[in-house]
Amino acid sequence: DVKVTQSSRYLVKRTGEKVFLECVQDMDHENMFWYRQDPGLGLRLIYFSYDVKMKEKGDIPEGYSVSREKKERFSLILESASTNQTSMYLCASSPAFQGGSYEQYFGPGTRLTVT
């Protein structure tokens, strides 16, 4: 079974703090993704990585950065947390898309509250 784990299920941070969300997958997948999910807005892609040290901006990258130093680990960084970043954050992984169409496997999510 593919397993995607996220470092925290619930997190409460203060405005201005630097926040690290970590994601680990155990299936040797090339692709990893960070989404945020808000009521009425659905899943929105923040960043995508298709290989170690490679990253691409998604639809809403402002205020976020990412790091992928190892294939299995993809970190999302909120440089200076703000209240509008309160959300559910979901990590996902999938095999490389080139040559096929592959489903994504999601982690359990991190509910981040910024006060």
Binding site: V4, F33, G40, L41, G42, L43, L45, F48, G58, M88, L90, A92, F97, Q98, S101, Y102, E103, Q104, Y105, F106, G107, P108, G109, R111
Partner: protein, 112 residues
């Protein structure tokens, strides 16, 4: 621009009352259409992938079908444990990007 629209936004059914969820899409060159189930407070869980018009896949009470413009998720004789949000996503060959586009989901509640 690739678009995915799911309807209805919310659906309430009585246990045993069959129905269908719709996912309509406009993409250039469909590579795959995915269905996911998401329980409250959890990450989406993969259900099906469909690749070409006419394809069908089944899992327990769920059956997914695909045409050139839309996909249906048919739920036969649903049970309360089928209550969840169902998400549809499409992967297309457009502009060289293979990143899936998600719909906003259909929230299904099945009453006992």
């Amino acid at each position: 621009e690739d678009q995915v629209t799911q309807s209805p936004e919310a659906l309430r059914l009585q246990e045993g009352e069959s129905s269908s969820l719709n996912c309509s899409y406009t993409v250039s060159g469909l590579r795959g259409l995915f269905w996911y189930r998401q329980d409250p407070g959890k990450g989406p869980e993969f259900l099906f992938t469909l690749y070409s018009a006419g394809e069908e896949k089944e899992k327990e009470r769920l059956k997914a079908t695909l045409t050139k413009k839309e996909s249906f998720l048919h739920i036969t004789a649903p049970k309360p444990e089928d209550s969840a949000t169902y998400l549809c996503a499409v992967q297309a060959i457009s502009g060289g990007s293979y990143i899936p586009t998600f719909g906003r989901g259909t929230s299904l509640i099945v009453h006992p």
